[in-house]
Symmetry: C2
Subunit: 634 residues, 2 copies
């Protein structure tokens, strides 16, 4: 194991341990990191509505940031065929842009149909009777959100590592630290700073467009070194359709995040729908221009794949030199990718909360934390993304094959759902709308299939295995919740609390102050009290019997001998005997002492047999268990 | 992280998880691995007493096995000076043999003084009034036992890896599997198979002596290639006293385990003491001859240090070729080292049990498991040794600098203790005996000091830091136990159980079957019952109030509103209010429901707020807590 890997593990363990200790022991640490708890009413306070050109950068970090890794990962696939295949990035990018246009058109239909914001899950729930369709959409999205966080953070760190090669060995560690920082930010739930979040994306957009523009200007004046870039149209040997499609799939990772605007129609100023559509069109144009321009420059400048220097960093270096413009591009790339990860945190926890409140995921995911954010969802996406980053050593290109399948599955479900909706609801232009969504459905389904086939061996098989399992599990959860709800239901008139006979058993370990304490409580209850002592040898049994008499025999004493030095076995058989004798509704009530130590580590010095016994009894026997605390003074 | 490291981690996690699940869910797995539980009486059954020449191999695995790594680690230090320093191994081994003679003489005095077996801890307890001396001796030994297991297992695997280089990348994994196997063997507690354990050591002794004998015969006939071995007496530049002492310290690791016989006098046939002394003398002669002969051959054959091929394997290969004799030596080396680790498991758990029953370590270490072995001690030494093996990647030479200091500290304490004993008890020849132990004390103290200084930067600093902490911790534990014993003491006449007033609080989460269940139990107790509902918003509070009335208001209902979505805070403040009103001796009694699921994973789907609440209440409040189970049917 390299030193860096030990460092990773060490950092993670120390941070997790110290963090956990600090948060659980010192409220002020929690308040410092996460902020003071907020009242539930704070939820209802008005949110600021956004102008469309402010909403554009706020909602586009997800989609736009992926230009930082999409074309590069496509190029990575192509160069396996040698430099002669590089020109293929241009037609592939063009195809990606066509797909972008189709997707945006389809999503604009979504905005028209669901002005209150409808993700794939909501659309599917609304248009399919079978719950598994909606659950498939949400599961696919949730899986992909985890990947988005891992990919975005890895790409963000790769950007920094390109400019500062010295940090390269610590990429995984830094990526994990970023995820931790995102957890803290999201736990705080600073949703109102939205317009502040617009700036990095603005900056990144501006610098990408500047890169493309100055690149063109430069090439106009000086031409470019054709030597480095084999001619357009050369057909390398070994070229197969599969390889082209594989490169296409990788390039398409630049399209993830397109669904964000359609989920967020309510945050636009009036007229909401029109503004959202305007934003979609503007974003589509900017994204398309960027993708094409960027891919063009990658090709003509002969930028090559280098795992330690991203193509964007190389291109920026070639175009602007390594001065402040280069630094600006590097840092705005970093910022926009982190923003994308951040909004994905939000997206994951919100979607998980909606699905959980419908009963398809554990209810914990629908609970709001101190700051009203869905803290359990945030922790879950962070944990899973950290795991991915650690396993794949924060290498973006290793993560790409797992990526984007989920998104395209959910795209397809949403499009089919919309087609069904137009059939049902009709309305103005419904045939045209239905046609657009129909095309969208077919295209996204084909693309999802291409992804699954071409990336299958590269890692996509994991998603193909996990997704159905996830769906199955969600449906099982839902059945369990329905089952429990049925069992908890009572008839308010017939089912009323009734008293029954109680036999209270006090387990004693000798005649000591703690036993006196427990017996005193038992005697306060006015039930039938029996003391039970489990002895391992005759000498100690005799001693307890004698001392019990000297103590005035406060109640009946039953002695059980354990030849195997186990407490459980004799107590279990004693309980069985009692169960056989008692009435059906009567209670067996077991009282156990619990030492409460002044210092936590003192617990290690005591046998905790009461605790083990309690857990065992509660899980395996139908007995009521009472814990009587005994507070030690030092 | 290399693939092998991932394999390690994966193997450990899978084995630990599967093992844990299997043992806790299926008694038959436990019985298969560990054996059926044994009755306490089995302890008293007679043990077979051993003939001295059977006891010799049984008790010498510890000491004799260390020739497999002692001289090699000394040589590893020397070759840092270049091949010119190799001859120094001969005087260093001679010095080690002198030390061996002194130690054996001192330990024979121990046998004379404590015929019932007296380890360093028992001797120190008997001869020093201050408990810290005895605790230092035991702590030093316990630390070194952990290292013995790690070193022996690592050396055992190194032996195999020398013969089969293909397994070399999996050394750490294999070492961890060996430790796991030792845990199972020791948990079974097959103490009576002792004479069976004699064979591997016999075999190893025989093959070592054969190696030396045939080596000499060969050299007599053919001479040796002097080219490979720079002449005796060359003084390499850079030679410093510190380096020589460092090499000496490493060579001395061949002396660990010398204390075993003196601890085991009772297992000899009569006359016990005479037989034990005879064994010591015989073992000393064999060990001395082996060390000198082995070191001589290492030197004249020009064996060099190779991390992937132990010197013993190289020498065996040179002497006998790679046929069956070589295989015999490799596998008997493996067997004897595993035996040494095995007897150290035993030594650790026995010593820990003695120290724990004196109150200096957690009492759990003094409890016998199902098979009457001290299972907690066995698990502890295994866990710590596994950690060392994993951290040091099963490299014997990296572990050596930490090793043997503890043993020599305990040697010194034992010798000083014996000197004090002779002064006190006197008896036949006491002046001579005292002189021998006095020399032993001085020599072992000097050697311990040499170890600490020369290996300080190599890792000995850890031991120098850990040992005093361990001692301090042990004394703190002892104080805690005394403190608790004082607090638990009662006056059998004055302190008797008395009934007081009880207020029972039933926490409800709505009007459901589970609440009906809990309330029924509360009503059976004849105490003052109050139902408490914590609501997060007005709508749900109103609903519960209404349904409570429709339910016929089974008892007083108190509603608490929580603005911060927390259960703890409002309940805590309600308890504070009750505490202020109640009499000093009266009880506050809280009843909580607990869902008992049919399937373990269902617990993940429920909030466990009752469990969290219970833990918090027991730890932070002086309240009695009762858990009323509610068994779900599916």
């Amino acid at each position: 194991m390299g030193e860096v890997e030990w460092l990773n593990i060490f950092v993670i363990i120390v941070v997790a341990f110290v963090g956990w200790q600090a948060i659980s022991h010192f409220n002020f640490v929690k308040h410092l990191l996460i902020g003071r708890p907020m009242k539930s009413e704070a939820l209802r306070s008005n949110r600021t509505l956004l102008l469309w050109w402010i909403a554009l950068p706020v909602l586009s970090a997800d989609l736009y940031s992926s230009v930082a890794y999409g074309p590069e990962s496509g190029m990575t696939e192509l160069v396996q065929l040698g430099p002669g295949a590089k020109w293929l990035i241009l037609p592939l990018t063009a195809a990606t842009v066509v797909l972008l246009v189709i997707l945006i058109s389809s999503y604009i239909m979504g905005v028209i149909a669901y002005p209150n914001g409808g993700g794939a899950y909501a659309i599917a729930k609304n248009n399919f009777r079978q719950p598994w369709v909606a659950v498939t959409a949400s599961s696919a999205l949730l899986i992909d959100y985890v990947l988005t966080v891992a990919v975005s953070v890895s790409a963000a760190i790769a950007s920094i590592a390109s400019a500062y090669p010295a940090v390269s060995p610590y990429r995984t560690t830094l990526a994990l630290i970023c995820i931790l920082a995102l957890v803290i930010i999201n736990m705080r739930g600073v949703a109102d700073a939205a317009s502040l979040l617009a700036w990095p994306t603005f900056l990144f957009m501006a610098s990408m467009l500047a890169l493309i523009f100055f690149g063109f200007a430069d090439e106009m004046r000086h031409g470019f070194v054709q030597a480095a870039t084999p001619a357009f149209g050369t057909v390398p040997k070994d070229l197969t359709v599969l390889l082209i499609l594989k490169a296409f799939s990788s390039t398409c990772s630049a399209l993830t995040g397109i669904e964000t605007i359609s989920n967020s129609v309510p945050i636009f100023r009036e007229p909401k729908q029109k503004n959202a559509i305007k934003t979609y069109v503007a974003l589509g144009i900017i994204e398309g221009v960027t993708l094409l321009g960027y891919a063009y420059h990658l090709y003509v400048r002969g930028i090559s794949v280098n795992p330690n220097n991203t193509m964007l960093s190389q291109l920026a270096g070639v175009t602007f030199g390594h001065g402040w413009v280069y630094q600006l591009i590097i840092w705005s790339t970093f910022a926009v990718l982190i923003l994308a990860a951040n909004s994905t945190f939000n997206g994951f926890s919100q979607l998980a909360a909606i699905v959980a409140s419908d009963g398809y995921l554990p209810r914990k995911l629908a609970q709001r934390g101190d700051r009203l954010s869905y803290s359990n969802g945030i922790l879950m996406v962070a944990a899973l993304a950290s795991l991915l980053v650690a396993i794949f050593h924060s290498r973006t290109n290793s993560l790409i094959p797992l990526y984007a399948i989920g998104v395209f599955v959910s795209f397809t479900i949403a499009q089919v759902g919309l087609v069904r909706r137009w059939n049902r609801v009709k309305g103005r232009h419904w045939r045209a709308y239905r046609a657009i969504n129909g095309i969208g459905a077919v295209v996204t389904a084909v693309v999802a299939l291409i992804f699954a086939v071409t990336k299958f061996t590269g890692g996509a098989w994991m998603i193909i295995v996990i997704l159905p399992l996830f769906v199955h599990f969600s449906l099982t959860i839902s059945r369990h919740y329905q089952e429990v709800a049925g069992q908890l239901h009572i008839d308010l008139v017939k089912d009323r609390p009734v008293a029954h006979k109680v036999t209270s058993i006090v387990l004693i370990s000798g005649i000591q102050r703690v036993v006196n304490n427990t017996l005193s409580f038992a005697k306060s209850l006015d039930t039938h009290v029996i003391a039970v002592y489990v002895g391992f040898d005759d000498a100690s049994i005799e001693k307890v019997r004698k001392r019990w008499q000297e103590w005035g025999s406060p109640c009946e004493l039953i002695v059980l001998k354990s030849q195997y030095r186990s407490l459980l076995a004799p107590i279990a058989s004693f309980i069985r005997k009692l169960e056989a004798e008692k009435g059906k509704e009567d209670y067996i009530h077991i009282l156990l002492p619990q030492f409460i130590m002044k210092k936590g580590w003192h617990n290690l010095l005591h046998n905790q047999s009461a605790l083990i016994l309690r857990t065992w009894l509660v899980l395996h026997k139908d007995v009521v268990v009472t814990t009587v605390p005994f507070h030690l003074k030092k």
